[in-house]
């Protein structure tokens, strides 16, 4: 690998993260710096879009174009950005609540459209910024500020969901494993299509240190012989209890992306012909005589 023109620290902004000491998101941020550096990503050719949440503050700390948008809306903005500037490297980042609760519908349709972006979900199984309410990822039975009798709902596995919704690349990482997460981010960014990376990133404040321990215990790397193209196998690694925290690349396939489709439509629309001028367009409105 040739030396990168940019070191990880070149991607640092001078803004101090607001995160709590010990928050898993610090490590995620480091992995982002490294992945961008390793991939020689041009800062000005890159945009990182997020929603709202602790995790969604990340774009403010990366010296590329960045947009910390609204709760749940990162993916629509990212989609528009990519369609407008297909050569841009577009990353979407955010929390589990941001992407699975209020943003669930956009997640579903971005995956289905195979938008050419990488989407990193920083999953702490809780609403961090709003001080500890249950998220769709919060394990059943857990007590939170909004579920003091125990969370009544079954929790979602973001990876299982992503595969079902049609994401063409799905992986899972653990923020504590910066090296591993960095590699997964590089694969996700390099993937041609919608790449979803679920990053387990503990919330020390609302889930306590025990969360990190518990999670670490559950973590297991996906077997080397796992066939990424095998959807059913991939789903098994997300649905069966013992596999809930399997890290690595779970699923990968190739199908036309939103940008491929856009190009094809332009081609069908005029092919090599010169674009229509004003007169040609106005002819539509001439009374049919």
């Amino acid at each position: 690998m040739t030396a990168s023109p940019y070191s990880p620290t070149d991607y640092k902004t001078d803004l101090k993260p607001v995160w709590c000491p010990g928050c898993g998101d610090f490590a995620v941020l480091n992995s982002v710096y490294r992945a961008l550096s390793d991939l020689h990503i041009e800062p000005h050719q890159t945009a990182i879009i997020s929603g709202i949440g602790c995790s969604s503050r990340l774009p403010g700390y990366v010296e590329t174009y960045g947009f910390n948008s609204l709760h749940g809306r990162a993916l629509p903005l990212a989609t528009g950005m990519k369609l407008a500037a297909p050569n841009l490297t577009v990353l979407a980042v955010g929390g589990d609540g941001d992407g699975l609760a209020i943003g669930g519908n956009h997640f579903m349709h971005a995956a289905r459209r195979n938008v050419d972006i990488a989407y990193f979900m920083m999953d702490n199984e809780i609403y961090g910024l709003t001080k500890g309410q249950a998220a769709p990822t919060t394990p059943s039975g857990d007590k939170t500020k909004s579920t003091i009798y125990g969370n009544p709902e079954v929790s979602v596995d973001p990876c299982a969901l992503a595969i079902s919704l049609g994401a063409s690349w799905v992986g899972r990482g653990f923020s504590g494993d910066v090296k591993g997460t960095t590699e997964l981010m590089k694969l996700a960014i390099s993937h041609h299509g919608f790449a979803f990376l679920n990053i387990i990133s503990p919330c020390v404040t609302w889930r306590g240190d025990h969360q990190t321990k518990e999670l670490r215990a559950k973590l297991a790397a996906i077997p080397a012989d796992h066939d990424r193209a095998d959807r059913t196998a991939a789903l098994r690694f997300t649905s069966e209890p013992e596999h809930l925290m399997t890290t690595g690349v779970l699923y990968e396939t190739q199908r036309p992306t939103l940008i491929d489709e856009m190009m094809e439509i332009r081609d069908k629309a005029i092919g090599q012909a010169p674009p229509p001028g004003r007169e040609e367009i106005l002819r539509v409105f001439a009374p049919a005589m």
């Binding site: 902004t13 000005h44 879009i49 407008a84 332009r266 229509p276 409105f285 009374p287 005589m289």
Partner: protein, 579 residues
């Protein structure tokens, strides 16, 4: 006759709307002025329908209050359009002879025509409407050959036999006309001139977007705005742009904010329910200062309301929605031509001042087809103030400037990187929760509206210089008011001030107009009088001398409504003069 309104009413399959299309097309290519509207019953499709075509040798500004020439294929269906199809006192009616007129028609000139039978004779049983077209073409002095040609064009995709049959039907209608009693004053007097285009307000907005340089559209279908989505998803790909049908309106405005952030002029189009869903993202565009154009075609509200009919009741939401102090621009369309200009202006303002701009149209102008000359579809196009190399040196995305506009960089510009957000932020875009920064940034963002009010004090002003009665109105009501004044011939006593900029309002001109009027009449189609209340926030509208004519939508505003108000007000004035 210089000005005639034809109407066709029938059941599904009677082809009322097609008949209207053909007549409108012929008149447009004769260079006449045409306004065509349609109406449908509640049934999704295949139900009763009506088409109304106003034709005039002089410019017209609204559909006529009443119909001069009515073709009725079925009286039962006619009854369903009481609000849409009103008859002039001297209206001439051609009805299916198999269907006898109801009693209330006894006093009227009714010609029974065996449309069905004639169509069968002609071997085109489905073409009762073509018989009618032939009959009217002959009777009202429209060009036979041209119309024949229009008919064959209309059925061009069908096999020859079908075309033949329809031409026979047309000729049969022409012959039939001679058998009907003449009244003498049937001929439409005009000298044919250059053909005109036929365009709807939605089409004008869509074309305007292309003219303005819009290359990305995202939208979610909704009546009565979907034609914009249809037009742009066909044409944008041809000119190197793209269009996306999103999963909902939140995604639609989200996508255009993303595309605009990336440097591409972008637009979405919707109607009330969709605009309601966009309230939060409107605020994001405003605080992050990302240009965005939102065309909102008003329909009957509240809620799902009356999706197929017009109303002027989204003004409140357009001007005041979204939490917090959220500067945005609202500009109105009053007819097809102004739909073009307003939309281009919207892009110009959005791009130059980095604000969201809402274009308020309504069903009555968005879906009616009007004649228009290509030559008027021209409008200056302005560009975003981009960051120069100088600006990029220690770049501050939100640098506070005299007019509040900060040069903008876009992805791809090296050295232009910035990280923005919907949080309050400092000049660099860094989140900042201190009062001083918040106050300064609010001031910066609102200062842009002052600059816009300066540069775009847009309004229509016509009629008397020092009006006895001054009319305040906006949007689609303007044309109706114009017709009313002309019809009464009171141009020298009545003056009109109609803001095109709804927010910020042209306050100064507006106030001096108000002060210059003897009495005032506000005309709007909103039960809650949204326009009137909005005006009061910015100008003094003396309650004592102001009459408000505001009512629900659901039927087109009639010139006669305005005339009635004017008659009262003008006599009062006269009386005062006497006293």
């Amino acid at each position: 006759m210089h000005d005639l309104t034809f109407a066709f009413v029938g059941a599904g399959g009677d082809g009322a709307v097609t008949a209207g299309d053909i007549m409108a097309g012929v008149c447009a290519s004769e260079g006449l002025h045409v306004i065509k509207t349609e109406a449908y019953g509640p049934q999704i499709r295949g139900g009763e329908s009506s088409a109304t075509v106003r034709v005039s040798s002089k410019p017209v500004y609204a559909q006529a209050d009443a119909v001069d020439v009515l073709v009725v294929f079925s009286w039962a269906d006619f009854a369903r359009f009481q609000n849409e199809v009103l008859l002039a006192t001297d209206a001439v009616i051609f009805h299916e002879s198999a269907d006898a007129p109801p009693d209330e028609m006894s006093s009227r000139t009714c010609h029974a025509v065996p449309f069905a039978a004639l169509a069968r004779e002609a071997g085109a049983p489905a073409s009762k409407n073509v018989i009618a077209v032939g009959l009217l073409t002959a009777r009202y002095g429209l060009p036979l050959e041209l119309t024949r040609h229009a008919i064959s064009r209309r059925f061009a995709k069908k096999e020859a036999a079908v075309i033949e049959a329809n031409l026979r039907a047309f000729d049969r209608g022409v012959i039939q006309e001679e058998t009907l009693p003449q009244t003498g004053k049937e001929q439409l007097e005009y000298t044919s001139s250059e053909p005109r285009l036929l365009m709807s307000g939605n089409e004008a907005s869509a074309f305007a977007a292309i003219h303005a340089g819009c290359r990305f559209f995202a939208g979610y279908p909704i009546t009565p705005s979907s034609e914009i989505l249809h037009f742009l998803s066909e044409w944008l790909p041809k000119i190197g742009g793209s269009s996306l049908q999103t999963e909902d309106e939140l995604a639609a405005i989200g996508a255009i904010i993303g595309a605009s952030f990336a440097g591409v002029k972008s637009m979405t189009a919707t109607s009330g329910p969709g605009l309601a869903l966009m309230a939060e993202l409107l605020g994001l565009s405003s605080i992050a200062e990302v240009p965005a154009v939102i065309v909102n075609v008003q329909r009957g509200g509240p809620s799902t309301g009356i999706p197929t009919k017009s109303e002027q009741s989204d003004l409140f939401h357009a001007v005041y929605a979204s939490h917090g102090d959220t500067p945005r621009v609202v500009i109105a369309c009053s007819d097809v031509e102004s739909s073009f200009h307003a939309t281009v202006d919207a892009f110009n303002m959005a791009e130059e001042y980095q604000v969201p701009v809402i274009v308020l149209s309504d069903q009555s102008i968005a879906q009616r087809r009007e004649t228009i000359n290509a030559s008027v579809l021209q409008h200056e196009v302005r560009e975003r103030r981009m960051a120069t190399p100088d600006d990029l040196h220690e770049y501050r995305r939100y640098r506070d400037t005299p007019d509040g506009v900060s040069p903008m960089s876009v992805p791809g510009m090296s050295g232009g990187m910035y990280q923005t957000n919907g949080l309050e932020h400092d000049e660099q875009g860094r989140p900042n929760a201190s009062f001083n920064v918040h106050e300064a940034m609010n001031a910066k963002r609102y200062r842009k509206l002052d600059a816009i009010a300066e540069r775009y004090p847009l309004f229509d002003r016509f009629g008397a210089k020092r009006p006895e009665v001054g009319i305040l109105c906006w949007g689609s009501s303007i044309g109706v008011v114009r017709e009313a004044i002309a019809h009464m011939g009171v141009e020298d006593r009545v003056g009109v001030f109609a803001p095109i900029m709804i927010s910020p309002l042209p306050t100064h001109d507006l106030q001096s107009f108000i002060d210059s009027c003897g009495s005032l009449l506000v005309v709007e189609v909103s039960y809650a009088a949204q326009f009137t209340q909005h005006l009061r926030t910015q100008v003094d509208l003396p309650r004592a001398k102001t009459t408000v004519h505001s009512r629900s939508g659901g039927k087109t505003l009639a010139a006669s409504e305005v005339e009635a108000e004017l008659r009262t007000l003008l006599t009062n004035v006269s009386l005062e003069v006497l006293a």
